[in-house]
Symmetry: C2
Subunit: 228 residues, 2 copies
DNA sequence: AGACACTATTAGCTGAACCTAAACCGCCGG
DNA sequence: CCGGCGGTTTAGGTTCAGCTAATAGTGTCT
């Protein structure tokens, strides 16, 4: 009834599916076939097929036509991949001169190839960091994660000053653009204006002013400056 | 008639086959199906099948029942993998606290996953080393390699003092044993005796004496001390 | 020269992970 | 309450990379 004691190695694909499902819903809301297909750039029938196998292996709960949720075992495996991914990103930035816009793709391949030993060596070389270069929290080796409940920049009231905590984006050009605005985790910004349409907000960063659109406003997660 | 300009990515398996064939005969002598099968722990029919595909893609020259040789393109791809493998080994030993007996397995997986960029970053972090932790030469990025013509310890005449250059072994326990004898690249040893059977040689290392058997004697490649 | 022992290859099968085209389900609007 | 639309699943097919069992070729020994 329980998962095997030595959890037979998962394939790359399986690891990718589990991580994708976790990312679509860290809280455990059901994820749909087409969401998964979209994120992994696969056809829906391929996803249905894999879902079937994964539920048989006890990694997913599948209600046909309704979506899937990770089981305990599935969530554990997914968090393991998230830990790997984020630690690798942190390591590449710290020790191999990567910038935050190039690191995702490399980590995407390495996360499947690296041993547990190597991950833990990288973690200690980094001093067991709590967050990756985009500000995303790194799950601990035992599978616990602190999702900091932060607010999207789009939702910050006018007049308030906040600190950017996380930048939820992986496309290199977008990340380069964000960096060019001086926005990255740890930076303080003040919302100086808000337009009634399209979630447009105007912020000041240092001495500059920037207008931020809907998508970007949702990708930038903030906390009240000073507090957490 | 030439290889494609953008050489479509090779699969993991293909990379393994090419590297194996190169390792069976760096000089280009034909390698047999069963040698390849033995090295990769696969069945001979599987190897025949892959050989067929690889020759169609112009990476191998195959004479049925006679064996295979790498073509220019095949050799280039093989050396690329050897470079990756050896640089990764060097990096793991230098920066992540690996010892030479554990490094092979990790490199065996990483060599397929790492980008060209990352390999070159690791190479420069290491100062572009010429050899890996076992003393094996690292091919340059443009695909040239310096195979140092060294002599097996079994073939060194009695009375001569030589420096160990390379330790041709990848099994962890054997490597640990070799290390426990104080033998590693750069160490000087003197052959003090030789038995007429079984290639047994007695050597002195520092103040210790050791008897070395056939297999080990062939795995230790040496050069006249001082010279190269 | 013939037989035998290897080694290599062919034939045919499996499973993973994808695909397209076709059928199916759930719900919303008329 | 029935039709249709959109998302989901089933059906059936492909490629890669492995396997076993059967066949074929090479070379050696008598």
């Amino acid at each position: 009834m329980r998962a095997a004691v030595v959890p037979e190695a998962l394939t790359r694909s399986v690891e990718d599916y589990l991580k994708a499902i976790y990312q679509l819903s860290p809280e455990g809301r059901p994820a749909s076939t087409s969401e998964i297909a979209g994120l992994l750039a696969l056809s829906p029938p391929s996803v249905t097929g894999m879902i079937k196998r994964l539920s048989e292996h006890g990694l997913l709960e599948h209600v046909p036509y309704r979506g899937v949720q990770l089981t305990k075992a599935g969530r554990r495996a997914a968090l393991r991949m998230v830990r790997r991914h984020r630690l690798i990103e942190a390591y590449l930035v710290e020790f191999l001169g990567y910038s935050w816009d190039t690191v995702h793709e490399e980590a995407e391949r390495l996360e499947h190839a690296v041993s547990e030993t190597m991950i833990e060596r990288m973690a200690s070389a980094l001093g067991n960091p709590a967050v990756d270069p985009h500000g995303d929290p790194i799950p601990s080796a035992d599978g616990s994660i602190h999702e900091l409940a932060s607010t999207a920049l789009s939702d910050v009231p006018v007049g308030e000053t906040v600190e950017i905590q996380r930048v939820h984006e992986s496309q290199p050009e977008r990340l380069r653009y964000i960096a060019s605005l001086g926005l990255r985790p740890g930076v303080q910004v003040t919302v100086v204006d808000r337009q009634p349409f399209d979630d447009l907000v105007t912020i000041s960063v240092g001495h500059e002013r920037q207008v931020i659109g809907r998508e970007l406003g949702h990708a930038l997660l903030c906390a009240r400056a000073g507090g957490q």
